[in-house]
């Protein structure tokens, strides 16, 4: 039964890809859990940094791709026409119109990926690494050192909050200062 479903599913996805429609690839990649990637990674790379990197990459990449994908669809055809009238070469159209249009989407994708990434890396480190915060957390759990678990948790939260408020937020409000502020009305 499972095999039948499997064949049907893979066939459907394959048909879409052959038509040049890569969209179903993304949900498929999204559906595969990080835990499954982690197990594959341990089999392929063993207990190493590569395992963590691979798992984070496989989890984060579809998020960014999906967002950028949505972004390319919002490129304003009128702006392309404007560039055409000005006889602008294609690569300039890419950098001057496509890129700025996609950037907000890329940014929100990257931010989502970042949020997922560090959570997933923790899990990946816990099961597939001999160093890192995840590894330390598991060690603390094994030794039943609740104080250490709390300490690591607090460290992580402070680190992530600093990156978010000290880097991402200011960068975002600088990059997208051309957007009308919804709150300031």
């Amino acid at each position: 039964m499972v095999i039948v479903w499997y064949t049907v599913f893979i066939r459907l996805v394959w048909e879409e890809i052959k038509k040049g429609n890569y969209e179903p690839v993304i949900p498929v990649m999204n559906t595969v859990s990080s835990a499954i990637w982690a197990i594959f990674a341990i089999i392929w790379f063993g207990i190493s940094n590569a395992t963590t990197i691979f798992v984070v990459f496989m989890t984060a990449m579809p998020l960014i791709i999906t967002n950028v994908w949505q972004g390319t669809r919002t490129v304003n055809a009128d702006f392309i026409e404007l560039a055409q009238v000005l006889r602008m070469p294609d690569w300039k159209v890419m950098t001057k119109i496509y890129l700025p249009t996609i950037l907000p989407y890329f940014f929100s994708g990257a931010r989502l990926a970042f949020g997922f990434g560090w959570r997933v890396s923790l899990v990946a480190e816990t099961i597939g690494s001999s160093s890192g915060v995840g590894y330390r957390l598991r060690q603390a759990a094994d030794l039943i050192r609740t104080d250490q678990v709390f300490a690591w948790t607090l460290t992580l939260v402070i680190m992530m909050a600093t990156i978010e408020m000290g880097m991402l937020k200011p960068l975002e409000s600088y990059l997208f200062r051309w957007k009308k502020d919804v709150d300031a009305q």
Partner: protein
């Protein structure tokens, strides 16, 4: 240039025209059926003239403008720009195109939007900025160069778009219903601006409109187009001094005549 082209692009006294169209036809494929948009259009635009293309929607006015600007190729007929056949004409900087909407890039400030028109080539950045600043000053927006489009009013955005089409120092300015989305008052203001800049820069202007008043107020000549397929029904010379006003009886008479022709 062969003899035939020479003949169509300049007249017997070898006068050069800004734009000369002869026998221009264009069809589009519409759900398999060819749709004839323009049939045998002849039009001559003198240098420095302001010419209005007037017609109901669907009379191929915008298509004609796109053919002049070189975005579209005619199926048949000859297009001459500044005395050269369209195929041989390569100084496309000499033609500027102003759209119905302002089309300002929202992520660029006013001055950077104006600079955009200069970015197709390889002009140094400092020179681009200098020219863009000049163009913004020309449209009285010198103090708003750092503003983003969302911070500007409709009229101001229209001015930035005008500055963007003027920054390349065009010999021909094509306008596709450029002020149709503005309110009546702002539109009148923009008409004044356009005429003032025309006095200063002396470029040839071809604008598309469906507004009889706009045509009568701005143009030296109005080419009235009939729809499906688009042909030029009549070219009306408007021999009145500018600035004109809709309340002037002569202007009103021209408006009535144009309205009757549409």
């Amino acid at each position: 240039m062969d003899a035939l082209t020479q003949q169509t692009c300049t007249d017997s006294e070898h006068t050069t025209f800004a734009i000369r169209l002869s026998g221009v036809s264009k069809s589009f494929a519409n759900a398999g059926e060819p749709l004839e948009v323009l049939r045998e259009v002849d039009l001559t635009v003198r240098e420095q003239a302001i010419v209005g293309l007037l017609g109901a929607s669907g009379s191929g006015k915008s298509t004609l403008l796109n053919i002049i600007s070189g975005i579209l190729k005619p199926d048949r007929g000859q297009v001459c720009i500044c005395g050269a056949a369209s195929e041989e004409f390569n100084d496309w900087c000499a033609i500027s195109y102003m759209f119905q909407d302002d089309r300002l890039l929202p992520w660029r400030t006013a001055i950077r939007n104006v600079e955009f028109a200069l970015e197709a080539g390889s002009m140094p950045k400092a020179e681009r900025a200098r020219r863009a600043r000049e163009a913004l000053q020309l449209v009285d927006l010198g103090s708003f160069e750092g503003a983003f489009p969302y911070q500007l009013s409709g009229g101001m955005r229209s001015r930035v778009a005008l500055a963007r089409s003027l920054v390349t120092e065009p010999r021909i300015l094509l306008m596709d219903e450029p002020f149709s989305r503005l309110d009546a008052q702002t539109r009148t203001l923009m008409h004044g601006e356009l005429l003032r800049i025309h006095q200063l820069k002396r470029m040839t202007v071809v604008f598309v409109t469906h507004d009889v008043a706009e045509a009568a107020l701005l143009a030296d000549q109005v080419a009235v187009m009939s729809p499906r397929p688009g042909t030029i029904r009549e070219v009306v010379d408007i021999a009145l001094a500018r600035p004109r006003d809709v309340t002037q009886p002569e202007v009103t008479r021209y408006m009535q005549r144009l309205r009757a022709l549409i």
